[in-house]
């Protein structure tokens, strides 16, 4: 055994030695032995702290569960939204171009950077009346193209021979046939867009797939032979023509800098005259907006981390503090700071091994339940089960646990062996030196003093509880401020709105269309409980703008305004053409609306008047018209006729009474790129255009008759007017609820779990505080405090906790709701701010109940041992 000393003894003993040297003094080190004893101690001391473990594991499970849920949501929402944008843009291809000849296609496809290229040749648009309201494009497409545009037949195959066709279920349904291969389909279309001559072709259905309404158009695939036979040129057809237009979609190895990659390919192929545009779904802005949508979820993760930290830290801090003498003993016997730290972190790790998998499973299950609820807008929400979610959530939870254990581990490692024996679980420093009081020891006073024996812990528990309560108030107030009525007025002004089949037709609205027939009008008129109606007609006329209106246009659209407009408006070139013509004094299209009843009242409502004043009685005389301007704030200068100007419509003179902001339920539909919309009374309109039929019709019915009216409309739609569109307020409300649900559910879920964590923290602190004071209680009981008094003192402590938490929560919540929520909601398009602290009011009695109940239960347990037993107890 002497080797130890000989080796050490010959060294220069005055210098400080680094640890490695010290360790070496004892000869060969066996790390396995070191690990073994640290592990043994870790596991054995874990077993000793069963209550602490339970609290810690529960906290870890909740933390992991929330992380998993949030990760699942973030992933699934990101995935679903990308999918949604892809459907909206209509293609998965990274970039697309049109007007490309066959040789050019070959060149581009053979470029090494192009990983996939699909092509399609357009024949025309299907014009069958039953397809009104849905754009159906008759095209040839290769496999790549069909797959890219989500139009690959799930049943059957793509057409090969001249008389074959593949369609989606939306089109098949509208055509009134059953989705069966071999069915005959007849499509009407215009080979020459410039003439009214329609061609009618009959095909056999050779394939179909599930249609998606979020795609802007449906594809009707025909064979290449069919298209090539019909057209003279393939590539870029003459202006205004579609037949023979060849399109391409190309994809690269990755989605970075798609526009640059596409431009490079084109210049490499010497095809700089062509233009490829980047897919909207892959644009930085889109990806950015997807990230913005998922941002609140990442904010939620920070909250979960804070809540997790507050409790796990507290649980470990309490446990280390109460075992401090044990750690001091270990240090006396030669356990180093590092080994003790490893031991505590090891305990955290061990509890994580139990808590994290349980939390992952719970979180995934919760995610499965929540994702469809949140994503109810898309028909089939994708629940992401990506292993990254579990790896990420597990890692986050483990990090939270380890960070939470860090400080307690340091505390245990730093303990000085001698001081450990004197350690009491209170804050170091800042102690009261004196207490000037002659009131004696009242129970309330003692309870209050006890509360502050460990200031840090009390603050921690109160923060943890307050966090949950304030979050709850925030989310509740935010959700409560959503205003259904405000939201609906923008979308639906009546219980039911019906639109003519041609309202949204690509080739424009036809005022002769008979969708809203006199038969339907009679049916509606005979409905029971009919409360109010509104008519909307519309026609287009061409006339030159007044000088005043032209000046208004030019001053409103100054250069800056035009530039802004250009960047947000996709159809800007056509608009600019119309605008320039109008300013030059050429004939301009005027859309004349004839309106009355519900729709007129809504469109001319106070909130929509930009300038002038609307007087219903004066308007009814038929001498006045209303102009519709852009959707801006009320102001004098607007790009239309000025108030008071006289305008002739069909040789009848009207005075402009006011300029209105456009109301979606009125103006939604196909309209020219540049027009001057005006509103005149419906009765005057029918005098001017006696042949014109209704474009839209609005009516309200009493609640009891809602179902009957809806049923009647749907039956009419299915049997007599397939292209008619029905907007009912009830389903709008449902859609609205679906839209607001996501933020509500996430918010409530987080705040409830955070509040639960707070309660767990409170319970843990209270229980451990009472257990660790067993001896002290025995002491005060031995000098004369009765059980009743002791119980009352503990109850007061609980009250104090609850009271402080509530006071702080009320103050903070009032601030958060009154200031933060007000700012968020006041600018919102569908919200009205209400001040409410309802969740806090509901939680108040619950919290007070817990504050009384927990000490009571703990005390019941304590009572089982006699005073002397407790006094004699040593650890």
């Amino acid at each position: 055994m002497r080797d130890t000393r000989d080796k050490g003894g010959t060294k220069d003993m005055n210098g400080r030695k680094d640890e490695r040297e010290m360790e070496d003094m004892g000869g060969v080190k066996d790390i396995k032995e070191q690990k073994k004893i640290v592990k043994t101690l870790t596991i054995r001391s874990l077993r000793k702290n069963k209550g602490r473990n339970l609290a810690a594991i529960l906290a870890i499970i909740m933390t992991t569960m929330m992380f998993t849920t949030l990760f699942t949501l973030a992933q699934s929402m990101g995935k679903n939204m990308t999918e949604m944008y892809l459907h909206q843009s209509g293609s998965k291809a990274h970039a697309s171009g049109k007007g490309i000849t066959d040789e050019q296609v070959e060149k581009i496809v053979s470029h090494p950077e192009v990983k996939a290229g699909g092509r399609s040749i357009v024949a025309g648009l299907a014009e069958n009346l039953s397809l009104a309201g849905r754009q159906v494009e008759i095209r040839y497409g290769d496999e790549q193209y069909a797959r890219d545009v989500f139009a690959w037949p799930e049943e059957g195959r793509m057409p090969e021979s001249r008389d074959e066709i593949a369609l989606d279920t939306l089109v098949i349904e509208r055509l009134g046939i059953s989705p069966e291969l071999g069915k005959e389909v007849t499509l009407e279309w215009k080979p020459d867009m410039g003439s009214e001559d329609k061609s009618s072709d009959t095909f056999t259905l050779c394939g179909y797939w599930e249609g998606n309404l979020s795609s802007y158009a449906s594809m009707a695939w025909v064979s290449e032979d069919f298209v090539r036979e019909k057209c003279d040129v393939i590539g870029e057809p003459a202006d205004g023509q579609a037949l023979g237009l060849q399109m391409m979609g190309i994809s690269f190895a990755d989605t970075k800098n798609i526009q640059e990659q596409a431009d490079r390919v084109l210049s490499d192929c010497n095809l700089s005259e062509l233009k490829f545009t980047e897919n909207l779904a892959y644009m930085d802005e889109t990806q950015q907006s997807i990230r913005m949508e998922t941002l609140p979820i990442y904010g939620g993760m920070i909250l979960v981390f804070i809540a997790g930290y507050l409790i796990i830290y507290n649980v470990f801090q309490i446990s280390v503090a109460s075992d401090i003498q044990f750690y001091g003993k270990l240090k006396t016997l030669g356990m180093t700071r590092k080994q003790i730290r490893k031991m505590i972190l090891g305990q955290g790790g061990f509890l994580s091994v139990i808590g994290i998998p349980a939390g992952l499973i719970a979180g995934y299950l919760l995610g499965i339940v929540l994702v469809p609820v949140l994503m109810s807008r898309t028909e089939d929400a994708l629940v992401s089960a990506n292993p990254i979610i579990f790896a990420g959530a597990g890692l986050f939870a483990l990090c939270t646990v380890m960070i939470s254990c860090l400080l307690p581990a340091r505390l245990a490692g730093r303990v000085s062996p001698v001081e450990a024996l004197r350690y009491t679980d209170t804050d170091a420093g800042g102690k009261k030196k004196m207490k000037k009081s002659t009131n004696g020891a009242t129970l309330q006073g003692m309870a209050w003093a006890n509360l502050w024996r460990n200031r840090k812990r009390t603050i921690l528990v109160i923060s943890s509880l307050t966090l949950g309560l304030v979050l709850m108030s925030f989310f509740y107030a935010k959700n409560a401020s959503f205003d259904v009525e405000k939201y609906l007025v923008e979308l639906a002004v009546a219980d039911y709105q019906i639109d003519d089949a041609t309202n949204s037709r690509v080739s424009g609205y036809d005022s002769q269309s008979q969708t809203i027939s006199s038969e339907l009008m009679a049916d509606i008129a005979s409905l029971e409980g009919l409360e109010g109606t509104g008519r909307l007609y519309s026609s287009e006329t061409s006339q030159v703008l007044s000088v005043q209106a032209r000046e208004n246009l030019e001053s409103f659209y100054d250069r800056e305004n035009l530039e802004n407009f250009e960047s947000d408006y996709p159809d800007f070139p056509s608009w600019k053409q119309g605008f320039d013509a109008a300013v030059r004094g050429e004939e301009t299209i005027h859309t004349i609306y004839g309106a009355d009843g519900i729709i007129l009242d809504a469109a001319a409502g106070d909130a929509y008047v930009l300038t002038g004043t609307y007087d219903a009685d004066k308007f009814a005389t038929g001498e006045y018209a209303l102009a519709i301007g852009p959707s801006v704030n009320p102001q004098e200068l607007l790009p239309t006729y000025s108030v008071g100007e006289k305008v002739a419509i069909e040789n009848r003179e009207f005075t402009i009474m006011a300029v209105l902001s456009p109301l979606y339920p009125m103006t939604n539909g196909m309209s020219p790129a540049f027009d001057m919309p005006l509103i005149i009374p419906a009765d005057v309109y029918t005098e001017l255009w006696p042949d014109s039929n209704l474009r839209k019709y609005y009516f309200n019915v009493t609640d009891e008759n809602m179902d009957e009216a809806g049923g009647m409309l749907r039956e009419y739609q299915q049997t007599k007017a397939i292209g008619m569109s029905i907007t009912d307020r009830q389903s709008m409300i449902e859609q609205y609820e679906a839209e607001t649900r996501s933020s509500a559910v996430i918010g409530y879920a987080i705040s409830v779990v955070v509040a639960l964590v707070g309660v767990l923290n409170f319970v843990n602190s209270m229980v451990t505080a009472i257990i660790s004071r067993k001896k002290e209680f025995a002491m005060i009981q031995s000098v004369g405090m009765t059980k009743r008094q002791l119980r009352r003192m503990l109850t007061f402590e609980g009250f104090d906790y609850a009271g402080i938490t509530l006071v702080i929560s009320y103050i903070l919540s009032a601030f958060v709701v009154g200031v933060v929520v007000r700012i968020i909601t006041e600018g919102g398009y569908a919200s009205t701010f209400h001040f409410t602290l309802l969740p806090l009011v509901i939680c108040t009695p619950i919290l007070i109940g817990l504050a009384v109940l927990i000490p009571y239960i703990c005390f019941k347990n304590l009572e089982k041992q006699s005073v002397t037993e407790r006094l004699r107890m040593t650890d």
């Binding site: 000869g27 032995e33 004893i37 101690l41 001391s45 016997l333 080994q339």
Partner: protein
């Protein structure tokens, strides 16, 4: 050759105006292989001195040299390693780790040091102390005498140069006390170990090579 020495060792506890002078400039030298008994009244500074010698507590001023190491120059971590390699502690309240059984308690300091226990040597100590049948018992199932024997076995297991014992017989009856002292003496002879022992018992003190009396933080021999 001196193995333990202190120079002008001062230890004060507390702050103004309640300063306690636990040690008042102690100069002490103990030779290798010596069996020294520290005696004194309660509160005289005996335990403080022992804690200083073992590096459990830091002096206010002055220095402690153990086995040629200047303890004041070692940091906390090095001090712990130093202690587990060179010093065996025996406490009045045994300081056994309650979650470990007898055998695990005995070999714990060796394992913490990253060494393999010398099985033959451990066996020798265990049989010398009569603990063969209790190896797998948990500490709380043992009597006071048995627990103190476990603590002694633990102190000896790592073959330390110095054994510091703080009233090792304080909680034991006189027969067991005698046995424990005999064991310590035998071990010290066999392994050429230095023993510094605090005791209240004059009979035990009489068996020591040297008696050091402490009064009010000063030593008198």
């Amino acid at each position: 050759m001196s193995i333990l020495s202190t120079t002008k060792l001062i230890k004060r506890y507390g702050k103004e105006p309640n300063i306690v002078n636990a040690l008042n400039g102690v100069d002490l030298t103990i030779e290798q292989g010596e069996f020294a008994a520290i005696i004194g009244t309660s509160g005289s500074g005996k335990s403080t001195l022992l804690n200083m010698l073992g590096g459990l507590d830091k002096p206010t001023s002055g220095s402690v040299k153990v086995d040629n190491y200047e303890l004041g120059k070692l940091n906390d971590e090095d001090l712990t390693v130093f202690r587990r390699q060179r010093i065996g502690f025996i406490f009045q309240n045994y300081n056994l780790v309650p979650v470990l059984n007898v055998y695990e308690n005995i070999i714990m300091p060796i394992q913490l040091d990253g060494k393999k226990p010398d099985q033959r040597f451990i066996h020798e100590i265990v049989s010398m102390l009569g603990l063969e049948k209790k190896l797998y018992n948990m500490p709380n199932t043992l009597s006071g005498g048995q627990q103190q024997r476990v603590a002694i076995a633990r102190a000896l297991a790592s073959k330390p140069a110095i054994i510091l014992a703080d009233e090792p017989t304080g909680n034991l009856d006189s027969r067991t006390s005698d046995e424990v002292i005999e064991l310590l003496k035998a071990s010290s002879r066999k392994f050429d170990q230095t023993i510094v022992m605090i005791t209240h018992n004059p009979e035990i003190a009489a068996q020591a090579d040297r008696r050091i009396r402490i009064e009010d933080g000063n030593i008198h021999e």
